[in-house]
Symmetry: C2
Subunit: 348 residues, 2 copies
């Protein structure tokens, strides 16, 4: 990073709140951009969606929210956009400018550094918004709030958002070995009792790739977001779920992931990609919520409940998640049991 | 984390500078403590050193700088200390208090939250300082400045510091495949020229474990720190090094690591541990500095130069490193060549 960039960065930072600074600073490392670019499922899905919609991009004004290194802006410019505005809070935008320049897009792409909410765009309205705003569990440290601001403030009537449909999915899994290893560790730490750590471990969802063979229930979509209409209020939700055991096993966690769908020309199958355990690896991996109970199940047993999710009151980049569940066993073997519980989590 | 802790944390944070906040917040996650505790080389070295010095700890006042979950405080208390004061800025200290209590050390260990520099200790002087303050490359995000403050302000004459001797070591390595994969990636990113990223990649040292078989030069100790006498000014240094190629190969990076030695009773071999590539894994791994040149060497060729290291002027938790080198080939094959260069790095 050049000295100039660093100095500008210091000035910008003074305007930002503490949690914004943290978020912002973490983007100064190129490593995260390397990881995102090298996530080919992610990046090629955006490219394929833009190429598929070439006719829609032709001569259009495009806004890239959180443009990072400018890759989506360049996809849009290369595929016919009249002009692309890329906005990012991070100093990475200085690198993006160099890349846009050496790739010959200086006239087609304008990059602006800052909070979109504070910036004056050179257009009153844009025809298309592209954004890779998704965080872990879709909503953790996501930029969706900024995308919705951009939509409401700048998107022309009938304009498109890439992607525009996202959904969160849930399934049960058996992960006894790792779960118990992770929890039992605290029983005896160099001869000391560290068990007060166990509730903390339980409270923190785990972001990791999960073998689909560990999944032992049906899967279910718990929520759909249509980016054309969703509001900030919709990002706080409490939704029911119902899962059915697929085999005799133990359910001791829930796994969540999200899928994304791009707009498609009429009559064509839309480009979409999944971050789930049944799809190819993405850097979002999956999110696992351990349950306090180890639920011994027979095929057909029902695990139902509700999943509550909302930004944390103290730090709105953190996510509160509450999973209430009611497990009903014995549908098959006749030994009826019911386990009810409520577990709370904090993604931070 | 209990609500109370979070609230206290918010108040504490207001007093801290931006970089302190970032550092501080990252310790709120239990994951880092899990990693440090599970680093048995680290933790058992401290335990062994305390056990070996049981006679020295008997009835002594001990200060644990950056006590984290309190493990070192408990080692000291269990091995005869009269009283231990543990100090930490992070909310982890609330967990430490619970652990100290359930392990029966409430009377022996006093935990205080805050910056050591701002806190009034219940003792004018302490007999022993224990601290696990080391960062990557020893000095990156280290707490050494606080340990030195503690020494100067609180350590009784003749008092001990655990550990009290640290040294940084250097060697050359061949890492062509990974280096070129990492650099070449930016040549063609989805059809775009991303080469402006290459200088950034080069500038960022890599923290990773390195196979000792990749090391192709002699190794050398570049600096020694005696914690009994070292001053803050000594942490900014420019030291010479001289390495000799051990085989026909390519030197394209330097690998650095650090070793630590604890005080020992007279006549006994001190407990020590290394974070180097010839020793068992530690969570500090090693630090690799890629060189701009790929230096083709024959056995006996000399790579000499200087390594400069200092806290970054803008953010004193960041480290500036500058490696100046002069490679002299042809000592053996007669085709004399010399490559001189100066590479700068930023650990951030």
């Amino acid at each position: 990073m050049s000295k100039t960039t660093k100095e500008q960065s210091a000035t910008e930072k003074d305007k930002l709140s503490q949690s914004e600074q943290h978020y912002f600073t973490s983007y100064d490392h190129f490593g995260i951009h390397e990881e995102m670019l090298q996530d080919t499922v992610r990046t090629l899905s955006y490219r394929n969606a833009i190429v598929q919609n070439k006719d829609m991009f032709k001569d259009k004004i495009v806004l890239d929210v959180g443009c990072g290194t400018g890759i989506l802006s360049m996809f849009a410019a290369k595929n016919g956009a009249k002009h692309v505005i890329g906005v990012d809070m991070s100093s990475i935008i200085e690198m993006a400018q160099k890349i846009v320049d050496i790739n010959g897009f200086s006239d087609k792409i304008t990059l602006l550094r800052g909070k979109l909410e504070d910036i004056v765009l050179p257009y009153q309205k844009v025809d298309i918004i592209v954004s890779e705003w998704m965080g872990y569990f879709l909503l953790y440290e996501s930029m969706l709030d900024t995308v919705l601001y951009a939509r409401d403030r700048y998107l022309a009537p009938g304009g498109l958002i890439f992607p525009d449909k996202c959904s969160i999915h849930l399934a049960g899994l058996e992960d006894s070995e790792y779960k118990h290893q992770k929890l039992d560790y605290w029983q005896d730490v160099y001869g000391f009792d560290y068990t007060p750590f166990i509730p903390l471990v339980m409270k923190e969802p785990i972001v990791d790739t999960v073998e689909s063979s560990l999944i032992n229930t049906t899967r279910t979509k718990i929520i759909d977001f249509d980016l054309n209409t969703v509001t900030l209020e919709d990002l706080k939700f409490n939704v029911p779920f119902k899962l059915q055991a697929k085999r005799q096993d133990t359910i001791n966690g829930l796994i969540a992931w999200f899928d994304n769908v791009f707009p498609a020309p009429k009559g064509q199958k839309p480009i979409e990609f999944s971050t789930g355990p049944y799809a190819a690896y993405t850097h979002w991996k999956q999110t696992v919520f351990y349950l306090e109970d180890d639920l011994e199940c027979e095929k057909g047993d029902i695990l139902e409940g509700t999943l509550f999710c909302a930004p944390n009151g103290k730090n709105n980049r953190d996510l509160d998640v509450k999973i209430k569940y009611d497990f009903k066993a014995g549908g098959v073997d006749g030994k009826e049991r019911s386990v009810k519980n409520e577990n709370t989590y904090l993604m931070h």
